[in-house]
Amino acid sequence: MRAPEKPVVPAIDTVVLQPTPFCNIACKYCYLPQRNDTSSMSLDTVRAVFQKVFASGWSQPWLTVIWHAGEPLVMPITYYEAAFALIEELRPDGIEVRHAIQTNGMLINAAWCDFFKRWNVGLGVSIDGPQRIHDIHRVTRKGHGTFDKTVAGIRLLRREQVPFHVISVLSTQGMAVPEEMLDFYQKEGIEDVCFNVEESEGDHVSELFAGADLQSSFRDFLQTFWTRSRQTTQIRFLREIDGMLARIFRPEDAPFGNAQVQPLGMLNVDCKGNVSSFSPELLGLKNAAYNDFLIGNIHSDTLEQMLHSEAMQAMSRDIAAGVAACQAECPYFSVCGGGSPINKLTENGSFASTQTVFCDLVHRVPTDLILNALDHLEDGLANAARSSDILTPALGRAAMSDASHAVGDVDATTVRSSR
């Protein structure tokens, strides 16, 4: 007889808030369906979210609050001042909150910089590279490029010493020129870089995703960018590689999880208080089988009710089935944790599915590059140990001495056969 399954206690890792769906520009690859809607989230809604999150006992001790729209900076600074202060008032001891904002950077001014610094906001700026590449897709409603204003915002952040990272969407043009992309970041003093390959998501269908050589093109891009960027001192963080390193080189017992596949791991709230979970991109999309991905409204439902709602139960069941299938068949599961539900649904038509192109790009390509590099490193160490006399003598001897000390007497034969 099977033991009854233990009820799963949610762990809220991230709250994604949509202060407004409105965006001041109209990127050609945008997946947000309501970016002309000028509605805004009331402070009452903010209060309801955090009263319920903190009262639930389900918040992680480090809670990330991401203000993600639309363009978050179309809302005034006073709005965020009031909202952040309200959340701080409600925050219980034992829970730390850090706010993050993802912006197109066009509205950044000195007052925003001051605000970012005072609240230690984790700031991400969307810029796709040099002007000729950025302005292909990131345009105003009239079709004008937005590069000048975005880069002005970045330069102001640097002058005001506000830490930030950039997310660059890689389309066909950017993917072809890793050196030019690197030169651009270096010229603008950008240190933390994240790449998102233009993907099929929501209503947007990526032409790039349909291309036959996408995976190898991205591999070539990333390998070149990684190699070249590490020959300089400026790029401090390359998310695709450096984020993956910590997952690959972790001890077996290190904490590991994918909040995007956990019920309420990510709590996503739109400006009217509607709540979804899992991938934030689901919020606002239509789907009859899953009640448009909505599990309740923060003003009328408790988190407990949302957790047990029909839509949540259906999504949880199907997403868990997809994760289980990933675990059973994908060799990369230990660095992925079950993938991204929005991409599974968009690409495969079902949450209860496995590999996507997104998986290939985000997990497989970086992992393969790192493992290949590790192979090279190990081979280099083996070769060096066998022929230390050709190396810088003192350090070569030190390496050999160290190796011998660690393992006893080692010769080339045992080195070769020991893997």
């Binding site: 020959q231 450096d242 290190a254 992992t367 192979d375 083996a382």
Partner: protein
């Protein structure tokens, strides 16, 4: 028979370097062609991806790996120099631009899912922030 586990050995250099240092070291390594005659026996034994990842995690968790890593951090402050000019590496002076070993900070505390993960978008695997 005495064995010298190459993964353990590599980790003993990578772990004390922190995330950025490991990224630099591996970028340097992957850019350097391997001489086939020297490594054929090693390459023959490459594992599949899942097994390779599992073996790395196992080695990373071993006390002996961590002891070796700590020793390397203390004993070889010029390791980067050696890797550049003697063994693998750029051979073009790239390493010594950084001002020395262990100046890179240490990003491995990402394992704890804590504060230090914030701001780079990975910890919840959502890429759009």
């Amino acid at each position: 028979m005495a064995t010298w586990n190459l993964t353990r050995r590599a980790l003993s250099f990578l772990l004390p370097a922190g995330v950025l240092g490991a990224s630099v070291l591996l970028a340097s390594a992957q850019a350097t062609p391997i001489q086939p005659a020297k490594v054929s026996a090693v390459s023959d034994a490459r594992q599949d991806v899942a097994a390779r990842l599992a073996s790395i995690r196992k080695e990373a968790g071993l006390a002996s790996t961590q002891e070796l890593a700590a020793k390397n951090a203390d004993k070889h402050p010029l390791l980067a120099y050696w890797l550049n000019f003697g063994g693998i590496g750029w051979r073009n002076g790239g390493w010594h631009n950084w001002g020395g070993w262990r100046n890179w900070g240490n990003g491995w505390h990402n394992w704890g899912n804590g504060w230090h993960n914030w701001g780079n978008g990975w910890h919840n695997y959502w890429h759009n922030w």
